[in-house]
Every structure is written in C-alpha cells, then in structure tokens.
C-alpha cells in the first residue's frame, strides 16, 4: 500500500469513528438517569474491591512483597485499564454474538470499511470515562502515600504499558466473542471472561510458581496486564525483561485474535438467508 492511500484510509476510518462517537453521545443523552446510575454502579464495585484489600491489610502488613498502598495503586491501575476497555470495546464484544444470531452481520460485512474495525468500535460507553477518572484519582492518592515522584518518562512508560494491557484484554475478549460463530449462545462465555478481570488486580508476587501462575502469565496474561505497569511506576520491576514480556504477550494475543477472527468469518453462513 503506498503512503497516500494509507493516509486516506486512516483519514476515512477516523472520520467514521468520529461519527460513531457522535452517535454514542446522542444515544447516552437519551437516558440520562440511567447513564448516571451506571456510573454509580461501577464506583460501588470499585469501592468494594478496595475495601476487600483494606480489610485484608487490617490483618497484615504485607502480601508477599506488596504493601497496602502499592496494592491500592495496583487496583487503581487495573480499574483504569478495565474502564478504558469498557469505554471502547466491552459492549461491542458482547454484541458480536447478537450480530451473528440475528444475521445483522451480513449488513456489517457489506459496509465498505474493515469489518473488525466497525464491530469493535461501534458503540462508545461514555460513562466509563468518568470511572477512568476515579481510577486516576485513586492512583494519584496511592502514589502520594508511597511518596512516589515518577519522572515524565516513567509516566509515559506506565501509560504505554497500560495501553498494551488494554490491547491484551481486547484481543482475548474479541477472540472469545468469535466463538459465537460456532455456538450461538456465546454471551455466557464472554461474561465468563469478565471473571478474569478479578485476577488482573491481584499482586503477581502473591502467587507461587505453579500451574496457576504459568497459565495466567504465559497463556492468558492476566497477571501481567496491570502488574507490570504498576511495578514500573513503583520501582518494583525485577528486570526490564518483564516489560518486554508484557509487550510480547500483547503482540501474541493480537495475532492469535486476528487469526481466530478470520477463521470464524470464513465459517459464517448468515442466519437470515
């Protein structure tokens, strides 16, 4: 592809994405009370996760090598990544099985844009950005308690690693959603993945080497997605290799996800015709 056509493709997708954003704003403003209540729900669950660890730290000084405020920083970062994921991808991934079931996917396949692009980014959950902000506030508070003064480069690295974590979540969830091409009721599977988010907010050092840790590091890298960025910020990284591992796993998940998606679309026979 020559640079000119690449630029025009990007420009077109960007303008489509802006239109999708406008749509989402209009849709959300139609149900204002509901919009606010969802923010309350998410905040409540965030507070609940925090209070679980505050209760544990009533009885202990450390969990493995992690102090209280380090864990709060971790929960904040994990919530930060998860809410960004909700903002951009979550409901789109959940809806994929509906598109397959109702045959609406036909229509989406015919659109003159990349199909995965339009399926993944159709709806934006604006309320999630409020929760992103509350996660940021908790992280800043925890960093102050830890007397952390990160250099600008460290903050940049943290954000890039969070981006890698976000991409990992998206790749895996989209791969699972693609299962809906085989079994129509895939929503349960997609929600099952939601359970795995709970693992992402646990300090990785709490797990002794074994099957559990290996699976959630090298197969479904839940123990990397938020641990690695926080370890960079809190100066807890054993070696820079950990960052490479997260980036490498992100790339691997993205490739597998794209492969799975292509296999699935090839099988698609349409529900309505």
């Amino acid at each position: 592809m020559n640079p000119d056509s690449l630029r025009s493709t990007l420009k077109r997708h960007l303008s489509i994405y802006l239109a999708l954003w406008r749509n989402s704003v209009v849709r959300e403003m139609g149900f204002k009370a509901n919009f606010l209540l969802w923010i309350v729900v998410e905040m409540l669950w965030f507070a609940l996760q925090l209070s679980f660890f505050l209760v544990i730290y009533q009885h202990t000084e450390r969990i493995a090598t992690w102090s209280k405020w380090e864990v709060v920083l971790l929960i904040g970062a994990s919530h930060f990544i998860q809410q960004l994921f909700s903002a951009f991808f979550l409901s789109n991934c959940v809806q994929l099985s509906e598109h397959v079931r109702t045959g609406r996917l036909d229509f989406l396949l015919l659109l003159p844009v990349n199909t995965r692009f339009v399926i993944s980014l159709r709806v934006v959950d604006l309320g999630a950005f409020v929760n992103v902000a509350s996660a940021l506030a908790v992280m800043v508070y925890a960093a102050r308690e830890l007397h952390l003064v990160p250099a600008p480069l460290e903050v940049l690295g943290f954000l890039l690693l969070c981006g890698a974590g976000l991409l990992t979540h998206y790749s895996l969830m989209f791969l699972l959603a693609s299962v809906s091409f085989w079994t129509v009721r895939a929503q349960g599977i997609v929600w099952g993945y939601y359970n795995l988010f709970t693992i992402a907010r646990l300090p990785e050092a709490a797990f002794r080497p074994g099957l559990f840790k290996a699976v959630f590091t090298f197969a479904v890298p839940m123990l990397l997605v938020s641990n690695v960025p926080v370890k960079l910020l809190a100066g807890k990284l054993g070696s820079p290799g950990e960052m490479l591992l997260l980036v490498g796993m992100t790339a691997a998940c993205a490739l597998v996800s794209e492969w799975g998606w292509r296999q699935s679309v090839r099988r698609y026979t349409s529900a309505s015709s």
């Binding site: 209760v55 009533q58 969990i63 493995a64 349960g188 002794r208």
Partner: protein
C-alpha cells in the same frame, strides 16, 4: 389442593426442560467462577505466609479460611439467583405478565418453581467442576461435627435460597415503575456480595461493623449457613440466628406480596 400441586409440578418440569438448554452455559459459568475463587485462596495463602507468627487471622487458620471459601461456593451454587430477576423484569417490561393476570396461576409461586428448577439443574451441572475443585483442596474440606449441625445447615440453606429469591423478586418488580432495572439489580448485588460474606468471612471485620451488619438481611444470604456448617455458631446463638433468618424470610415475602399488589395497580400492559 392436589390439583394445585399438580399444576405447579408441571411448571417445575417445564423449568427443568427450559434450563437444560443452558447446561453448557452453566458449565462455563461454574468453571469460570472457580478461577477468582482459586485466586482468592492463593491470595490468603500469601497473607498467612507473610505472617508466620500469626497463624489465625481474625480467628481463622489457613485451613479454616480455605474451607470457608469452599463452603460459600457450595451454598452459592445451591441458592444464588442468577437469571430470574432479569427474566421477571423482562416479563413486566414486555407485557408478558398480562397472561398471568388472566390465568389461575400465582406469579410468585410460578417464579419460585422456575427458580427451584433452575437451581436443581445448575447444581447438577456445577457438581462436576466444584467436586473436582474440592477434591484438589480436600485437605481443607471439613465435615460438619454432628447430625444436628448438618440439619441446621440444611434448614438455613433452604431459608437462604428463599431469602435470595424473595429479595431479588421484589427488586425485579421495580420494573413496574422504572424502565431499566439492571442498575438497581447490580447495586443490590454489590451489597450482597460484600455484606453477605462472598468476599471474606464477615467476622474478620471490626466488631462494630459485624454488629451493624447483623441488623441487615445480607449475612443471612450466605454467611450464616456457612458459619453454621463450620460450627462457628452454636448453642443459643444458633437458634437465635435461625429465628432471625426465618423472620427475614417472612419480611421479604411480605414485601414481595406488597410490591406486587402495588405494581399491578400501576401496570399498563405495554405491548400486551
């Protein structure tokens, strides 16, 4: 009387057949649900390993803590409301409820039968992953000390199921007044999750917090039967607890009936 029993027995049968369709979904749900549980148990192990000089955090040894979580998994599989509240709200929103107003069938009893059928199938499916999991952790699995404890545990578990159902039922009836009840369901669920003892045994909280929680129905939605099983509630406290739990069930039943009567007056049969 036998005609009535017969009628609802059919409902149970239909419920069983309908939920069997979702057996794979249930299997995934039960299996995926074990992952966070396993993570929580590992987390506690790390806590105990970090405090070698304190073998009993809040009165629980590591073995006691592990068996607490194993028991919550079992009681939860037997009693949790998973989809019923969404279906009830859906029935009201879509106007499906109109047909129940015309038929000689009591909606609450009807839903209770479906709930029972759903729990039966869910438990049957979840038995496989849960049994494997408990087998892996069998060193921490304890049996109740005597037949009386077991009996009280079973009685309390039945009341827990009723309480879970009735509270969710009343909550779902909010759909008579508001269009979108899912946020309210999630808010209630959050309270049940932390104050019911899903996350941690409630008695590791400061005593004042425990006392306050005991004035709410939440501990009776999970924590109480588990503590009965583990022999942490005995003697007068046990009988007192069972009576309070029964009173909460009655209160929830009264609320459910009351909300239904008010709701029906408000109902406009959209789409029906």
């Amino acid at each position: 009387m036998s005609l009535t029993a017969n009628k609802y027995w059919h409902v149970v049968n239909i419920g069983i057949q309908n939920t069997l369709v979702y057996r794979i979904n249930f299997l995934f749900r039960a299996a995926f649900g074990l992952v966070p549980l396993m993570a929580t148990i590992y987390l506690w192990r790390a806590v105990y390993a970090s405090n070698p000089d304190n073998p009993a955090v809040g009165g629980y040894t590591l073995a006691g803590m592990t068996s607490y979580y194993l028991l919550t998994t079992i009681v939860d599989a037997l009693t949790a409301v998973t989809d019923d509240d969404w279906q009830i709200a859906g029935d009201i929103k879509d106007g499906n409820i109109s047909q129940f107003l015309l038929k000689p069938i009591d909606y609450l009893t009807y839903r209770l039968c479906l709930f029972g059928a759903g729990r039966l199938i869910y438990t049957a499916v979840a038995v496989v992953p849960v049994a494997l999991f408990i087998f892996a952790q069998r060193a921490f699995f304890v049996l109740p000390t005597d037949a009386l404890t077991l009996g009280c545990f079973l009685l309390s578990t039945v009341m827990t199921a009723l309480l879970q159902f009735l509270i969710s039922y009343s909550m779902a009836l909010l759909a008579f007044w508001v269009l979108e009840v899912s946020t309210f369901i999630f808010i209630l669920f959050a309270f049940e999750y932390i104050a019911g003892g899903h996350l941690f045994p409630l008695d590791i909280l400061p005593p004042l917090a425990v006392q306050l929680l005991n004035y709410t129905p939440f501990p009776y939605q999970l924590y109480f039967p588990v503590s009965v099983y583990l022999g942490r509630v005995t003697g007068a406290a046990l009988w007192q607890g069972l009576i309070i739990q029964a009173l909460w069930v009655l209160a929830a039943y009264a609320l459910a009936r009351f909300a239904w009567r008010r709701g029906i007056k408000h109902y406009s049969a959209v789409g029906g």
